[in-house]
Point group: C2
Chain length 112, copies 2
């Protein structure tokens, strides 16, 4: 398991899939919701990321359906993927904690 830091879109894709298997378009909307409308995934970003995540073994194809002649491919978070996401959450928590503390120090000790 590589532990290179996840970029925001990748992190949010994994987060979307953590709740339940979803297809690409569903992920796109879910990510928009998770981020409070701040992050809109481009199609290119989404499918390229899904391909990478599949190669890494963090997501897998759950099933494929054909609806109205269109392919609908559902993706699922694997166990290693869930572990990877959990590790990343811990990492980010540590960083945000550190940043928060230092910003407080700045306010209290910095100017006074």
């Amino acid at each position: 398991m590589s532990n290179a830091p996840l970029r925001e879109p990748t992190f949010l894709i994994l987060t979307a899939l953590a709740a339940r298997p979803q297809h690409g378009y569903g992920i796109q909307h879910d990510v928009e919701e998770i981020s409070g409308g701040q992050v809109t995934l481009r199609a290119g970003t989404l499918y390229a990321a899904l391909d990478r995540l599949r190669v890494d073994g963090w997501v897998d194809v759950d099933r494929e359906e054909v609806v109205d002649g269109r392919l609908r491919r559902y993706y699922r978070l694997t166990e290693p993927g869930a572990a990877r996401l959990a590790a990343e959450v811990e990492r980010l928590r540590a960083h945000t904690r550190a940043a928060h503390n230092r910003l407080r120090t700045r306010l209290t000790g910095g100017t006074a």
Copy 2:
């Protein structure tokens, strides 16, 4: 203020400077400490990032000293930089919260 997501090295550089002005080499060591030894900034990454952050107005040169014939340049977090970092902390907190909740849902509702 652009609100593009900060990459990990950039976030940690701002965090290092949040506590107090520091010179490049000091930032490098501080970041290593903040991240629990997980993140080691390359010199190229560090100084390139500092240049960008200066252009964005998030950090500024605090003062310069010459020690042992070597230049020692201190950087300082500006007010906009502190605001930017605080905003990023909130953003990351929201994301980690969402990811954490979904991972819990997965454990309780997913398999059982």
